[in-house]
């Protein structure tokens, strides 16, 4: 342990003596304090707070992420290039301990920097909220500065797949389809089935049943929030669409009916519900009446959601920072792994390149969706084919799967929408991001570093 701590202490010394710690602290605090002065919002306290949270936490993550990658690549690669590692490696410390000590050093630095900047963001939000009028404070505390649990209608994926196959077989019996086009036809049928699950035609009512689960018991007597979003194929002159919401079941639960609400498409809307609208089993029944002349489409994944109070913002904010810290741990491991076998500039380039890939998964996703990397022929309406598809598409699938392990958590989005980040989520983030992905990077880095000849580099001091 003494050896590990010695290497950790050395990383701290380097960060302090080279003034990296001071510079990053100033940048982070500058971003936290300066950004709210520059950004534009929708004029409401809620909108402003959401934007401040999104921008400041986003900037902190980006700055700290870049700094972590740079430091991780530099601290190991430069020690090797400048030959200090030749002296350290001749002492009774295993190479993996040197590696781990460096990682612990970077992570302890990150911990302090994240805690400092996070505390600053939290303090600023609370301070600004306390200066708002009482009604706005109430809105803020019930919609943003809160930790709200979420419940959605049950997943219909299996049902959609089953229905898709039924319809496909039915059509195949009527029309002959070329083997090469079968997949394309299946995709089109699936989209039709999905649309049926999402669409509310003009003059129709749609019903969703949302299971509140074990949370239902604690939610007796507490108001709920309905969060909705819909898309339309056509617009209106006013830009909004009317709609009536009916919540509850006659003779079983209390009933609540909204006014005719005028809602914009492609935007999230939060509608406050009265307490105790769900039945004894914790099922909340929500009906929507579409009085418009156009169909409205409520997306399956985010079209409708019920939010309920679950905890305090402070603890939620801490858990959110916890997930960001997990990301930093992964970045530090990636940087150190690259520096274990590459020179500093190359390691930094590789690590940043990997980061760029993570942020640009759209191309890979669409290639996987189309099943080819070849271009789509718009004139013939057919998709292309490439011999590389055999290798590239499975590779893209694997990369996307790995990336999704780290990207499936969205603490900034959750915090800015006042949604709860549970301990379970934090635990999963730690397991997937730190233990699994970080562990793979660490194992690779430690192995390479242990096997590496350290005396081939000539000193650059």
């Amino acid at each position: 342990m003494q050896r590990l701590l010695a290497i950790t202490w050395l990383t701290w010394k380097a960060a302090l003596r080279y003034r990296l710690f001071i510079v990053v602290t100033v940048l982070l605090l500058g971003a936290v304090v300066g950004l709210p002065l520059l950004i534009k919002d929708d004029g409401t306290a809620r909108g402003f707070t959401q934007i401040v949270l999104t921008y400041t936490l986003g900037t902190i993550t980006a700055l700290l992420g870049l700094c972590t990658l740079w430091l991780a690549c530099g601290t190991l690669a430069r020690d090797i290039e400048e030959c200090q590692m030749q002296v350290v490696a001749t002492k009774p410390i295993a190479r993996w301990q040197i590696w781990l000590g460096k990682w612990l050093g970077i992570m302890s630095l990150n911990g302090v920097l994240l805690a400092l900047s996070g505390a600053c963001v939290f303090g600023l939000l609370v301070f600004r909220a306390s200066r708002l009028p009482a009604d706005q404070q109430q809105v803020l505390r019930s919609e943003v500065l809160v930790a709200r649990g979420s419940a959605k209608p049950p997943q219909a994926d299996a049902e959609i797949e089953r229905r898709t196959e039924e319809l496909l077989q039915e059509r195949l019996r009527k029309i002959r389809v070329e083997k090469a086009d079968l997949q394309e036809v299946r995709n089109q049928v699936r989209e039709q089935v999905k649309a049926a699950y999402q669409l509310v035609p003009p003059g129709y009512t749609r019903t969703w049943q949302i299971d509140l689960g074990s949370a239902a018991r604690r939610l007796r007597g507490k108001p709920l929030t309905l969060r909705v979003k819909f898309n339309t194929a056509e617009g209106t002159s006013a830009g909004t669409f009317g709609g009536v919401w009916l919540v509850g079941v006659p003779r079983q639960t209390k009933l609540w009916r909204s006014e005719v609400l005028s809602l914009a498409s492609d935007t999230f809307h939060e509608i406050q519900l009265e307490p105790d609208l769900f039945d004894d089993k914790g099922i909340l029944t929500v009906n929507f009446v579409n009085p418009n002349e156009t169909a409205l489409l409520f997306p399956l994944n985010e079209g409708i959601e019920v939010l309920y109070p679950e905890g305090t913002f402070g603890l939620n904010f801490t858990r959110g920072l916890g997930i960001i810290f997990c990301w930093m741990a992964l970045l530090a491991a990636i940087g150190l792994a690259a520096a274990s076998f590459l020179s500093f500039p190359v390691a930094a380039f590789v690590a940043l390149g990997m980061l760029a890939v993570v942020f640009s998964t759209t191309t890979m996703s669409s290639a996987v969706e189309e099943g080819t990397i070849a271009n789509y022929n718009a004139e013939k309406g057919t998709k292309g084919w490439s011999p590389a598809d055999v290798v590239v598409i499975p590779m893209f699938k694997a990369i996307l799967k790995i990336i999704s392990l780290a990207k499936e958590f969205s603490p900034i989005d959750s915090l800015s929408t006042g949604r709860s980040i549970t301990w379970t989520q934090l635990g999963f983030a730690f397991a997937q991001v730190v233990l699994l992905l970080g562990g793979i990077a660490a194992l690779f880095g430690m192995t390479v570093f242990t096997r590496r000849e350290l005396a081939t580099a000539q000193g650059t001091q």
Partner: protein, 405 residues
């Protein structure tokens, strides 16, 4: 009249290596080929090398630049992997982590963290050896004192001169009181005082049964302290063995005496000329070497309390490096000898140095026997040479520099 600076007595003349047969480093058929990115052989740095280093030896790796000395050192330390051959340190692979707690290493350049000061540097390396806090602090103090950096312990190592960096490098190599000390060009960048101190330190370590591997291309360094050497050229060992064997010249002898009256001198010469042709007899007055003279000047300046912003001359060898058992013995106070008004007494366990000894009648008799020449003395001791008066030396130096005295 002798000077008040101790002459450096060749290590091999002072002591018989305290080797007990335990092999500390064993090298068999060691070959190292550096390869390029594509795995093609680029340079054969070491080619089929064999040697053993035994406990208590001061072992020299000698050779010109690029001959493979440093590569050998790095292979012994596990920083490079052999292409072929077998290498063991204390009976283990060089990459065995626990074995490294018995090794101290001074690299050929100062590969230390430039942003740490000298005290932090020693604390850091002490932590890597898991030394308890008290030991770490005590040893750091003693080492800083020993290498003459205690007054500048708060300055960053990056600000140090090359010599000062070598000194702190040497201190870190000794923080664990190692059983095997590997010194790669230890006197490179050091001033004459520093060189002298390093050599004295090596002798002190060897006297405690420590094993020292010294890699150097400076012949005087190796000659002064090494028991055995290997001489490299082109990655191959060209010669190896005890220094006294390698340097012995069995066809000549040297007799050193105090100044003799002319008549005595003539009688001696007459005796010698009976057996040896006149052109083969050489009579010379030994002069003090420049190292001794330089050290004397510095000693005088120090006595006058001149201030310096650089490293001061090191004090005595750190107590823990001297070993408790040897404390109090005059021989261990190596550095103190610099300040001694008389040549320091020889170490208790060292054999008699042939300096100002009474003439050994037996040896003379043996010399008189044709064909019965005894084995020559290892290396003639400069202590036997008649020291030149300081005034004379000053005069010489002044005339060399073309300056008034």
């Amino acid at each position: 009249m002798p000077t008040n600076v101790t002459e450096l007595i060749p290590h091999s003349a002072l002591r018989d290596p305290q080797t007990n047969g335990e092999v500390v480093v064993s090298v068999r058929g060691l070959t190292k080929v550096f390869k390029d990115f594509w795995g093609r052989p680029k340079a054969r740095a070491i080619d089929n090398v064999d040697f053993d280093v035994r406990r208590g030896e001061v072992f020299g790796l000698l050779g010109p630049n690029g001959s493979g000395k440093s590569t050998t050192v790095k292979l012994i330390l596990g920083l490079l992997h052999p292409t072929k051959g077998h290498l063991e340190v204390f009976g283990h692979s060089p990459r065995h982590v626990a074995t490294k707690s018995r090794i101290g290493y001074l690299p050929e350049e100062s590969y230390l963290y430039r942003y740490l000061n000298s005290r932090e540097t020693l604390q850091f390396f002490g932590n890597l050896f898991e030394l308890p806090k008290e030991d770490r602090q005590k040893r750091s103090e003693q080492l800083l004192e020993m290498v003459g950096l205690s007054q500048v312990h708060l300055r960053a190592v990056g600000e140090f001169s090359k010599g000062m960096q070598r000194r702190i490098g040497l201190a870190q190599a000794l923080i664990n009181d190692p059983d095997l000390v590997i010194l790669d060009e230890p006197t490179s960048g050091l001033d004459p005082i520093g060189c002298r101190e390093v050599k004295d330190l090596i002798i002190a370590l060897a006297r405690r049964g420590k094993t020292v591997i010294l890699s150097s291309h400076l012949l005087s360094d190796v000659e002064d302290v090494c028991d055995r050497v290997v001489i490299y050229y082109g990655g191959k060992i060209q010669a190896q063995g005890p220094l006294r064997d390698l340097l012995a010249s069995p066809d000549t002898i040297q007799i050193t005496t105090p100044a003799l009256p002319r008549q005595t001198m003539e009688r001696v010469l007459e005796l010698i000329r009976r057996d040896v042709a006149e052109d083969k007899v050489k009579i010379d007055t030994p002069t003090q070497n420049l190292e001794s003279y330089f050290l004397e000047i510095v000693q005088r300046a120090r006595r006058a309390a001149a201030e310096t912003s650089g490293a001061t001359s090191g004090a005595r060898v750190a107590a823990y490096l001297r070993g408790d058992a040897e404390q109090g013995a005059a021989g261990e106070k190596i550095l103190e000898r610099l300040a001694a008004p008389q040549p320091s007494p020889r170490p208790a366990n060292a054999p008699a140095v042939p300096v100002a000894e009474a003439v050994d009648e037996k040896k003379l008799a043996a010399l008189a026997q044709p064909g019965a020449l005894p084995k020559p003395a290892p290396t003639p001791s400069r202590e036997a040479e008649k020291p030149v008066e300081l005034d004379q030396a000053n005069e010489k130096l002044a005339s060399l520099l073309n300056k008034p005295k």
